[in-house]
Amino acid sequence: MKNRKIYLLLLLLGVCFQVNAQNRQTVSGYVKDKANGEGLIGVSVYVREAATGVVTNPYGFYSITLPSGNYTLVFSYIGYQKVTREVTLDADKTLSIEMEDESNQLQEVTVSTQREDENVRSIEMSVNKVEMKTIRKMPALLGEVDLIRSIQLLPGVTTVGEGASGFNVRGGDVSQNLVLLDEAPVYNSSHLFGFFSVFNPDAVKDVKLIKGGIPAQYGGRISSILDVRMKEGNSKKREVNGGIGTIFSRLTYEQPFAKGKGSFIVAGRRSYIDVLAKPFLNSDLKDSKFYFYDLTAKVNYQLGDKDTFYASGYFGKDVFGGGDFGFGWGNATATARWNHIFSNKLFMNLTGYYSNYDYSLGQNANDPNAKDKFDWKSKIISTSIKPDFTFYITPNNQLTFGGQYIYYDTRPGRALAVSEGQSTDISLDPKYADESAFYIGNEQKFSDRISMQYGIRYSYFRSLGPGTEYEYITDEIGKRKLPVFPGTEYKRGEKIKSYGNWEPRASLNIGVTSNASIKASYNRTAQYLHLLSNTAAASPLDVWTLSSPIIQPEKADQVALGWFQNLKDNTYEASVEVYYKKLYNQIDYIPASELLLNQFVAGDLLFGKGRAYGAEFYLKKNKGKLTGWISYTLSKTERQVESINNDDWFPARFDKPHNFTSVAIYEVGKRLSLSANFTITSGTPATFPTNRWEHGDWIIGNNYNNRRNNNRIPAYHRLDLAATLKSKKKLFKVGEGEWVLSFYNIYNRRNPFSIYTRVNEDNSLKTEAVRYAVIGSFIPAITYNFKF
């Protein structure tokens, strides 16, 4: 049965491959930014005579194969001046282009009749790109430009609340987003428990959020892909960027080498409140630690016309502590990539990455002589190799295929408790696994009007020994399940359990008029790595846990349908999308579950399913002095889990039926720009007790109907403003400087993160409801950025 599917697929692809007998030539090359030599991702390359085109890949590469003849190639990219080139195709040609930023434009040059209508024409749907230029100008909390916070303003994206780490996409939880930094997964994208994200905005080139119609080359998480690509480093000239903000000080250095064939970038940030506070701390607090930092670096080198090498890395840490106590967490990633052009039709990228997330918490952890100590560490390491090929067969068929192998080495908890000199090791066994995947996909234009992207991914996961696996039993569903002894022992490298999943993916674009199209997509996704987290906001202590005989892979099916339209010569991009998503093997938890340092944690898990559906309305203005977007999402996200809420569906913690956001950026003049964000969303669901009962000195709440999330906290709304002023005075006499003034939550609303009930501190008979706000006031901030 499975084999037949493959044959069918090959047959289908074979049909598409039938190459015309006609003489064909290929034009290919790289598209780069003229100012700094950075490859440009997603540039539209349009062949006027053939009325067809392609888009540059994540490395700025494109390739088009056409019958011999004379052609006009039009390169267009939002925010850049259009470039038009005449090409005589009598043999294969290489044509690399440099494009110039629109803001450097001295006069309006209007060249083509072709529109920047990628939004309408591309097969991609449910994808949001936010230009870094835009993110930089949006008002930011404490003036710190933040990628994840900006993502939260997009349609279909919610969060459990201010200050929570991560984001939720179309009903998925935070762990169901594959957050990639130069293709390496980032396991925890937050600093300071979620207030800031780990991406240094000065080092990021491109951000793309894929919420649906996920192409076959992506896998491993079921809800979305956040693909963050780092800058390569200026290959034209040395560049230094930096800034002093309220939280971070930043410095970025970029430089070309080998006559522009290579370049590198090094970017660092560190919070500095601790440095400022130090003189004011009394002796007991002198050794308090509270800081976070990150370092991002990347180097690239182009060897000849056919090979480019990239190496990039990220390292970041959060450190808190005082006296004998310490707590810290951080990610480290390293990516090496090789781009090779086999022929001008076949492009390969080979990526190898390493990603590590760890945390440690301890008391006297580093003191070998301490009589009492506690030392607890946890980490996950994944190492992967990933070849990806793009075969530009004809302009109408672009075949992608490749694979991935990931090896997981997880240490869910290594803990040593020393009590009066007697030490106890309460460590959990390491867990190992690997994941392999193969995919093939094709992007095919059937006619001027109809194009389709279809493919399939097969993922295969093995949980590997050494290890002991137990069965679990309980007398009542919803209670802690207890292990049955003895468990089954597995030897090193032995397969404990395997899972395989076919993941079909398809997207269709039907052009309705020259500036409107209907798109539809379907995707199935599978996930073998699960973040065990039962708190409102994900915490840095949450442990990534591998699938096992008990914990089955999470899966999702999603269908989406949308109408895409551009208006007024592509000044406006509009879309309406509806989606329906089903999620399987979703994880929930028994009451008072012990998720940390518990070797029988599988006994504390409950399993269920989810469903999410909604409509997303999006209007974006790309051109003119005023740019920005308005987005409204109407949605529902529910879960159904054994024993919870009487086995009925209940709203997920991040379910927000109404979600309206708007972002506006206004260029007042050459020096001044103003911006505003406004957000209004439904409050998140909450569970309130209906009754109370006494036990000893305590008053305990009870929900008579045994409901979960049966209420909702008040709506959330907030307005932020910012102004960016380029200073006339040059810092260090060269380059440029700018002041950014931002006001977060300008009308000082105390937006609740949650409402909960408790017993009054002073009167043990009094029960009360409490509104908890993470950010309870208006927050102004000022930042100075420089560049030279």
Binding site: E594, W693, S777
Partner: protein
């Protein structure tokens, strides 16, 4: 993290400084919630100590009803052990406190099983428990401590008390550690419930046969430091695994605010209506064997601060 009392104060302070601008805040607000009908609530813990034993029966009320719970009157309360002995509990004062009292007799014995039967109106509720073994408390010590800042409660300089005891060999013993203040065991706030699985926190982290590990030992110092002359002590109660789960749920529900709150769920009762279609009971029927030790804080005997 919740186990690191002293350190938690320090880290809280560090985080506060680190995020001094992030003025997270709490306000008491009015909240309208639905109300369900009153349910029978059982608060019964029998022990192996000589003297009277009490089982308290009350009615649940609407959540924001800030009056003491109304007593359940005229119920029949009987405890029967696995040797067939019947202990009748009487509400002589008419306040919902059903008491068993028999001079020279002790109700609870280690190793015996007890079944509670309550007849209230047309309904019969039952529950059973077992008195588990308990180790002796070896000692109580205290160290001088100065907090880095003025605390909400108690002195800035004072004593952290700590008890020593060793978990009995054999996995799966569960305990409830109660601080004894001025001769009375007290757990005013459910957030400071201290329970142990063997010598540590849970079944999944083996600690069988050890001295209770540090944060547990110090759990008799709850929300403030002790001063010289204070009477402090500890009661170590053996509890069933079911009681351990009950208490951990109570503790979790009591501390469910903040960024990392867990979803609240109803607390499972071990008191069951014999008629599955009948009204359900709330509360818990438990039993303990108790070890106890007390001391008076004498600055001369304080251990040197080894931090």
């Amino acid at each position: 993290m919740k186990y690191f009392k002293k350190s938690a104060i320090k880290i809280g302070f560090a985080a506060l400084l680190g995020g001094f601008f992030l003025t997270g805040c709490e306000d008491v607000i009015d909240l309208e919630t639905e109300t369900g009908p009153p349910q029978l609530v059982v608060d019964g813990w029998i022990t192996n100590q000589p003297g009277p034993q009490t089982i308290k029966l009350t009615w649940s009320a609407s959540y924001f009803d800030n009056t003491p719970a109304k007593p359940v009157l005229n119920a029949e309360v009987v405890v029967k052990d696995d040797k067939g002995t019947i202990y009748e509990f009487e509400d002589t004062a008419g306040n919902g406190q059903y008491i068993w009292q028999k001079t020279g007799d002790t109700l609870g014995h280690i190793g015996r099983k007890y079944t509670l039967t309550i007849k209230q109106g047309a309904d019969t509720f039952t529950s059973s428990t077992e008195i588990k073994r308990v180790p002796a408390v070896d000692s109580i010590i205290y160290r001088k401590e100065k907090l880095p800042f003025e605390p909400d409660k108690g002195p800035r300089e004072g004593y952290v008390a700590e008890f020593y005891a060793r978990d009995l060999a054999g996995e799966g013993d569960t305990y409830w550690i109660k601080p004894v203040i001025r001769g009375k065991p007290e757990i005013k706030r459910a957030t400071s419930i201290s329970i142990a699985y063997d010598a540590a926190f849970s079944a999944g982290a083996p600690s069988d046969g050890l001295i209770f590990i540090l944060p547990l030992r110090q759990s008799i110092t709850t929300d403030s430091l002790y001063s010289a002359g204070n009477e402090v002590g500890v009661e170590l109660h053996s509890i069933t695994n079911e009681a351990f789960d009950f208490l951990s749920q109570v503790r979790e529900q009591a501390g469910n605010g903040g960024l990392f709150a867990t979803p609240i769920a109803n607390i499972r009762s071990n008191v069951v209506n014999t008629n599955p279609a009948g009204p359900k009971a709330l509360g818990f029927f438990g039993s303990s064997a108790i070890s106890r030790m007390e001391t008076t804080i004498d600055p001369a005997k304080a251990r040197p601060d080894d931090d």
